[in-house]
């Protein structure tokens, strides 16, 4: 099959699956069947993506096909500047690499879900896999987009699927709220994307990211607002921790590996545009650096294992954004790739742990390592990769980012990232030492290793998580300048800090006793971070400001505007009622009026003459 056909297969087969599952309730409710259908779909997509990847290793720009989607013409300039609004398929190194990441993680997550979601009622099970397939379609639409418009289509669709999947447990009010919050906040940020697209199109006549754009500054800034929402950058990150209300595999796929990385993908995609806007790039670097630091501080004090991972995702996305802000598309996207693998694995492993103890609290897990060696092992590999321990994939990509940021001269973000690197190692160490090696808790008594469906994906993901870093040159060559890894002072510092962080966490949480003093040092910082000022201000903005304003408008409409309309009717009726007595019903009164009027008219006519 041609590359285009493969890409279309990888995109539309999942759509077909999702649509069939929607319109065929019989299949959707048929026990495990929808799960298998969905997994096979994902597998087909994965195979297609891998095949495309193989193409991509040889030819970087594989194919680009577009078709008109909307008719468009500019009044009076139809012949001079014919422009159409198109959608299509663009296959190059970047999209193909992303396609592989997406399909691989999606496949692993779906397989994992077969085990994780096995206890769900059939209808819900089917619904879950319907949305999973829909997600694959949406994400692939985004990835293969040849222009920003289609990217936006996919962008919104993944947002929708995110909403649906976070709200999977819709009977839980908190889940329903979290879904809403995620959708609202990303949609709020997406207003920037819409505006950016419109400004771009009106000024250049196309949605392409290539070419010189006079208004690159505003456009990229607007686009970046959307990125901040989708990729959970401060202060729009508030939805991501709440999004953990969704099933854990969903968190792994959407809210760790792929969907939240869409923002990073967008910036990497529109790199030519962003290059023309250095101010935006600097802004990105600072936002990214701050987010990385802020989120990692908050992660330190979380007890919910998924919340820790969520904040860590925030933090890592901050790294990527910072790298892109430093102008390094390669570093940012490379970290996206490695992060997708190890973070998905971390989440899946965490899912396994949660599944075993039926709790998200790390203190309820305690000592699971002995009972669940494989899952724990995967978790530890992921944690090490995340902490940037030399040899693991995260080490390579994170060091690349730090180097690029350093070279760009962005010292403040660099410092933030460095501290964040230390904190990352520290909080991951904390989770590992408490949850896997800590004091056994009574919740964990009956814990046992998960089944094949839930361990197989971990094994699959562990491979790239371990060794993706060694193929940095080949991978980076796909979507940019091939970058060979070399050990630099910057990288060594970061690694050393990371190891320090692990050591500290062992001292505080792993060692039988001790570290109490240090814990009191961290306590105020933790309280500050956990107080959720950002969250509260959003809540205030929504509950008090927006709802209050809307309430005022509603009142104004009902009682003032509509009141005025009613008042017109009321006055008409009242005037009528007042005038009624004039009609006495007595013939002679009318005659009087008639005679008086005749005389008056006659007099008037006389005066006129």
């Amino acid at each position: 099959m041609s590359p285009i056909q493969l890409a279309l297969l990888a995109t539309f087969l999942p759509l077909g699956t999702a649509f069939s599952l929607i319109v065929l309730p019989g299949v959707r409710r048929a026990g495990k069947l929808p799960g298998y259908i969905s997994v096979v779909t994902a597998l087909v997509a994965l195979v297609s993506a891998l095949q495309l990847f193989a193409y991509g290793l040889e030819v970087h720009d594989i194919a680009r096909v577009t078709t008109q989607w909307l008719p468009h013409s500019v009044l009076g300039a139809s012949s001079a500047a014919p422009s159409t609004i198109e959608i299509g398929v663009l296959l190059d190194g970047l999209s193909v690499s992303m396609l592989v990441v997406v399909c691989l993680v999606a496949f692993c997550v779906q397989v994992f879900s077969l085990g994780y979601m096995a206890d769900e009622p059939p209808a819900d099970f089917g619904r879950y896999f319907t949305w999973q397939s829909l997600f694959l379609f949406a994400m692939n639409t985004l990835v293969i987009a040849p222009n920003l418009l289609q990217l936006f289509l996919g962008w919104e669709l993944v947002g929708l699927v995110s909403y649906l999947l976070i709200g999977y447990y819709w009977k839980k009010p908190s889940a329903a709220r979290a879904a809403l919050k995620a959708f609202w906040i990303t949609k709020l940020a997406d207003m920037g994307l819409v505006a950016g697209l419109i400004v771009l199109f009106v000024n250049t006549g196309s949605f392409n990211w290539t070419g010189t754009v006079a208004v690159a500054g505003p456009v990229t800034l607007l686009l970046f607002i959307a990125v901040m929402g989708k990729s959970a950058q401060f202060p729009l990150h508030v939805w991501l921790p709440d999004a953990m209300e969704g099933p854990t595999p969903v968190s792994a796929l959407l809210h760790a590996a792929t969907m939240v990385a869409a923002g990073v993908f967008l910036v990497a995609r529109a790199h030519p545009l962003f290059e023309q806007a250095p101010n935006t790039q600097n802004f990105m670097a600072y936002v990214g650096g701050f987010t990385a630091l802020f989120a990692s501080i908050v992660a330190v004090v979380q007890n919910d294992i998924k919340k820790v991972l969520a904040y860590s995702t925030c933090s890592q996305l901050g790294y990527m954004v910072c790298a892109l802000g430093a102008g390094s598309q390669v570093a940012g996207f490379f970290h996206l790739t490695t992060h997708a693998f190890f973070k998905a694995m971390l989440f899946l492993a965490a899912g396994g742990l949660i599944h075993a103890v039926h709790s998200n609290d790390i203190h309820h897990m305690g000592g699971l390592f002995r009972k669940m060696k494989l899952t724990s092992g995967a978790f530890i590999i992921g944690a090490l990769a995340l902490a940037g321990v030399p040899g693991f994939s995260g080490f390579f990509s994170k060091d690349l980012i730090l180097e690029e940021v350093w070279e760009r001269g962005l010292y403040l973000p660099f410092a933030a990232l460095l501290i964040a690197a230390f904190l990352t190692a520290f909080y991951m160490g904390r989770v590992v030492f408490i949850a896997l090696f800590g004091k056994p808790s009574e919740h964990a008594e009956h814990a046992h290793e998960s089944g094949f469906a839930m361990t197989f994906p971990l094994v699959v993901l562990a491979i790239p998580a371990l060794c993706a870093g060694y193929f940095g040159a080949e991978l980076s060559g796909m979507y940019g300048e091939a970058t060979h890894f070399h050990l630099s002072p910057v990288g060594m510092t970061a690694s050393a800090l990371g190891l320090c962080g692990i050591g500290l966490s062992y001292f505080m949480f792993g060692a039988p006793q001790g570290g109490a003093a240090l814990r009191t040092v961290f306590a105020p910082l933790g309280r500050l971070a956990a107080s959720g000022i950002v969250d509260k201000s959003f809540l205030f903005g929504y509950r008090t400001v927006l709802r209050g304003f809307a309430g005022g408008i509603g009142w104004f409409d009902r009682y003032i505007i509509d009141g005025l309309m009613n008042a017109i009717g009321y006055v008409t009726l009242e005037v009528g009622a007042r005038l009624r007595p004039l009609q006495t019903g007595k013939v002679q009164d009318y005659v009087y009026v008639m005679v008086v009027a005749t005389i008056a008219l006659g007099t008037f006519a006389a005066f006129l003459r």
């Binding site: 500019v74 329903a176 709220r177 819409v194 009106v202």
Partner: protein, 522 residues
Amino acid sequence: MGNFAHAHLLSIIVAAPAVAALVVLLLPESERLAIRMAALFGALCSLAGSIEVLRTYDTAQAGLQRMERYALVPSMGIDLSLAVDGWGVSLLLLTGIIITAGVFASFTLEERPKEFFALLLVLVAGVFGVFVAQDIFVFFLFYEVAVLPMYLLIGVWGSHGKVEAHGPFAFIWKRFDVGGREYAAMKLTLMLLVGSAAILVVIIAMYFAAGGTSFDLTHLANTKFPRELQLWAFPLLWLGFGSLAGVFPFHTWSPDGHAAAPTAVSMLHAGVLMKLGAFGVIRIGMMLLPEGARYWAPWVGGIAVINVLYGALSAMSQKDLKYIIAYSSVSHMGVVMLGAATLTVDGWNGAIYQMFAHGMMTGLFFALVGLIYGRAHTRLIPRMGGFAKDMPWVAGFFVLAGLSSLGLPGLAGFVAEFLVFMGAWQSAHSWWAIPGIVGAWVTAVYVLNASRTIFFGTGPSDEFHELRDAHGTEWVALWGLSLCLMLFGSYPRLILDFIHIATNEYLPKVALVADQLAVLAR
């Protein structure tokens, strides 16, 4: 027969519902099934005719097609002349879809089905007529035919609401049963008739200014009216038609009217009738009075922007489900008017497409609301919760309609809103795009919040024991409208191509090309 039908397709589309109404009236009250089938048949005939018109419209030739002309009052130059352009094609299709869905949605109506369906069909005949009339007198005639049955439909089959007395005008409650169905019907009729009066004045003025020989739309469009006439006549037309399109501050009939109206009537009213107003503003107001349109465009757009945000925020503060949807219509009709005011190709395409998309979306909404109300017997959202357990499909469709209304790509609403915003940015008043975009977000807030409260979370409580999913013919309405939303959202060219042709033809007569080029060069 085939040839005859083909040659008189437009007449058939307009006449089919009217004939069906007659048949329904002639049938005995007891033959309920026959009554329904006759109504359905009339609706389906129109739908099929609309599809055929769409299929056979010659895009290469463009312009007015399928011209039919019968002299009505030759001495005054009134002809019953019918023809379609690209806009008419799409709006005919919309009307066909909505009436069919509406009949399906209220197929099982128990209260006086005979009179109900007869009035409904007469109303639809009027709507079809407006979209194909090429004579302004006949246009107005059909317009009134479409508006007036509403009074009975709401007054007889409507439902009661209650509004608390508050504010500086609280004394009014002494006299009016605010929120009641008679009140709503009366308010709607009176406000729309005031609008009609304004329209009639302008129609007569234009007729005489154009020589007093013909009411033909093309003739009037080719007449260059004096500037003074255009400047005073345009606002009258705008507010006259605008009162039906829910233009602020003449929108207040809409929430009460839609809330009180029965399901199919709400569907039809918000789905197509409000479009008549917007269509009138563009087709009559802007095209016959281009100078007036240009002069007043900043006002039209400014008020439209208010409509968008004001409607959305008002919707957010409502507790009654029907009021939410009604206010959302006000907000979305603001998008239509905004697109019209931009005087750009994209803006006009978007405006007409928004009519189309919003028609189907709000039709779906009102079908669902009627269905929920029929089972829950309340419209107050705070009392509901967890309904998705008993009515999962209704929940799904509701969210789908909501997604379309907030402009989710892949659904029809997005295409329209995006085009309108693009047009707004290209217009002389770029800032219009910003409140438009914000309005879409506010829509996301209130629509999804409503669906969360109604369908998700814990519940439903014991008082709701009759909840059940859609059944029977309701499925047809829900699925039909949902699939249309998806179809026209993912392949908009299906009708956007037709709209585009008409826009390309009409707009240069209204907008000054130089204006746009200046904007582009900026």
